[in-house]
Symmetry: C2
Subunit: 445 residues, 2 copies
């Protein structure tokens, strides 16, 4: 029970009032902004995720400073601080402190949203189809990693005289694929179960695993001298074991799950049992050095063969609608678009570098769509575009690089622009290509 | 993307690994424990919430120390710390620190669960029925506040020689009703829509409002001398305005909501629109000095007249199943049952006081069931028992008192036991009374 402003006398209960107001108020701002923009996107026949990203930009560090990750080191919206301060009878400075302190709560909820989204993506995947396209997906993933990395690094070094190590780092940032964004767009356009959809999802999962290995290598290089192959081989082993275990369990574990579910009698059994498998797989993936999000996808894949898979999907959808939205909006809030302004002379070098990186980033992933051999006719452009958005994964690479002080401001801005460009262009281009194809109904609902 | 253990070189990413492991691991522990106990309770024909509370006790401060609020100042389970530490390659001390730091995330999620539960309770309420029983509910609420407060305070002062101020505080703690527990039990037993159910829910809401006013008075008294009537009158006014606005909007706002919902075309519109109303009402309630949870109930009541109310209920249920469970388990984790041990001489005075408080706490609320006049035949015992659980509200009173250093250890233990006793007895007794009545189907599902 958060307490009313009167109760300052004992303890710090005013703080709880501010906490609750901020907690609830942040959700309100996020949902109002995201929903407004999502509705606009639907009317423009664009994927709603684009609206969520744009909503984030509008309320975030590039816009009204209403939702601001502490890492942004920017000043929060004065109106918001003053409003909450006056409601709770504290100074705006106190509100600002509590805002920063409680921001991790919002991030934790958004993380839940990402897990829920990947869980749903796994549930909606066709295991047999995923295995059938395994070779193609692997080819796409590897090509989509090698091409942008090689072209990006070489271009930066030879065309722009960037020193080798920052160039390698930028190249590594270009290998990422945001499986969340891809899954969201394909899911909304009802394209997940197609051959192309499964190829992209499979490739994005593998790309995520490759990304972790690449990061480990780059960071080991950054450590200087002390490069040792052991931990990296261990990570590669862990990844292989993980994929094998996920495939094995998705063939065998569903009947056991169904049996357990049939024994359960307390209400809410479907959602809780699903959530237990989800958290178990997230824990396992993280424990062996991979990402929890990969575990979430594996959990969905494992339960996709369950008799209850549709019931689980129904219970997961509200979680996705609420919390994955928070996740995508937060990505948008962290994007600082001021580096885009060409009238600021400081930005020009970054813009030139960015144009180069963006072209390589798009070309490299699109080319990956043509990299595999297949008897079946598939839409290779869709596959390439599906691999394109760097999204939150690109931002994490960027964050690591700037934290380590490896990148010049111009290169940092260029990577950010490459991430923004691919993230925003991918849903737009995918939608264009898919509707031209007539593969879509007029209004997704 | 939380990063693998390798990446310690740059920044503090090991910390993120530990965070993710703890975050996901805590959910896993909570759901495994809660579900196991809930299944047991269903087979014993007891409400599942009792299982959730007991699960909390088992994994919390009285049990395995796996889920431990930082306020408990107890040592976390060594096995858990060692396991996570070895997985993430850090010391158990680091894990402990991150555990404490990230615990608010879990609390924030549990708070969402409470809001979702009260939202659902509001959605399932019958406004007309609630208004029809308004006078009875008010009588029950007032009697259920006055009797335990007066008897408790007087008894402590005259029978046990407790000084006036601590006695008043203990008396105030006895006025609480945990609307969450009551709503959960009635909801599960499909008793919410009955006359008794609506009387209790209405009375519990009013009791919550009265509780805030009482707390304000007690705290003002604690401030000593500086007692001023102004802020308390303001709070009473705010409460009246809030109830009036909620009733007015629930008669008028649903058509507007339905119209807006009909215009929305992006997917997930029902759950998002419902959530926007929910957060708006939570914010409004907290902003005028009441509780956000009251706003959540009002939001449900407002939307209970919507054409989409059943669709909203369906989307809210998974949130309740997951996060309200976390809320109730956390209540259990905070209960320190060691004060129950009669072999420890330090506990004896507390146990005697506790026995007295428990009798008054039960008698006072049960008597409230007989306090109103009604032409209709109602089960007054059910009404009284429904008002009985003190739950989290009682714990908050207790927390305030011990924070302020007002209470002796014996009195503190006695209040805790009174809270535990009423919280655990209410679901058991309600279930017994309701099934004897034959008002229930054999297995709730």
């Amino acid at each position: 029970m958060p307490l009313p402003p009167l109760l300052l006398a004992i303890g710090n209960h005013q703080e709880e009032v501010v906490e609750t107001l901020l907690q609830v108020g942040r959700f309100l701002i996020i949902f109002l902004a995201a929903r407004t923009l999502a509705e606009l996107m639907v009317r423009l026949e664009l994927p709603t995720i684009l609206g969520e990203l744009v909503a984030g930009v509008i309320i975030g560090v590039s816009g009204f400073h209403l939702i601001l990750p502490p890492e942004a080191h920017a000043q929060l919206n004065h109106g918001l601080l003053a409003l909450v301060g006056s409601l709770a009878d504290v100074t705006p400075e106190v509100v600002q402190d509590i805002y920063q302190e409680t921001f991790p709560n919002l991030k934790a909820v958004s993380q839940l949203g990402l897990y829920a989204l990947l869980f749903l993506t796994g549930l909606e995947s066709e295991l047999d189809e995923l295995v059938a396209v395994g070779v193609q997906a692997t080819t796409v993933a590897v090509t989509g990693v090698v091409l942008p990395f090689a072209l990006g690094t070489a271009g930066l070094v030879f065309l722009f005289d960037v020193p080798l190590f920052p160039a390698i780092f930028a190249g590594a940032a270009m290998t990422a694929t945001s499986i969340g964004i891809t899954a969201s767009v394909f899911g909304e356009l009802k394209f997940l179960k197609t051959r192309e959809g499964q190829t992209v999802i499979g490739a994005a999962v593998l790309d995520d695993i490759l990304g972790i290995v690449i990061l480990a290598v780059v960071v080991a290089l950054a450590g200087g001298g002390s490069f040792s192959l052991g931990p990296i081989l261990k990570l590669v082993m862990a990844a292989l074991v993980f994929v094998a275990a996920a495939l094995f369990l998705s063939r065998t574990a569903a009947p056991a799950f169904d049996w357990v579910l049939d024994q359960l009698r307390a209400p809410g059994e479907v959602v809780v049992a699903g959530f237990v498998v989800l958290t178990l797989c997230c824990f396992a993936a993280q424990a062996i050095g991979l990402e929890a999000a990969l575990g979430a996808f594996a959990a969905g894949l494992i339960l996709s063969a369950s008799r209850h898979t549709e019931a689980i999907q129904e219970t997961v959808k509200p979680l996705v609608a609420l919390f994955a939205t928070v996740f995508f909006v937060l990505i948008g809030t962290a994007m600082d678009l001021s580096v885009l302004n060409p009238f600021d002379p400081d930005n020009r070098q970054g813009l030139v570098l960015a144009a180069f990186l963006l072209v390589v980033a798009i070309a490299g992933k699109v080319a990956a769509g043509w990299s595999y051999w297949s008897k079946e006719k598939t839409n290779r452009l869709v596959v390439g575009l599906g691999m394109m958005p760097r999204g939150e994964v690109g931002l994490i690479f960027l964050g690591l690089g700037s934290q380590a002080g490896i990148l010049t401001p111009a290169l940092e801005a260029a990577i950010l622009l490459m991430v923004i460009g691919t993230t925003f262009l991918a849903p737009i281009l995918l939608r264009l290509v898919l509707s031209r194809q007539g593969a879509l109904v007029d209004q997704p609902s």
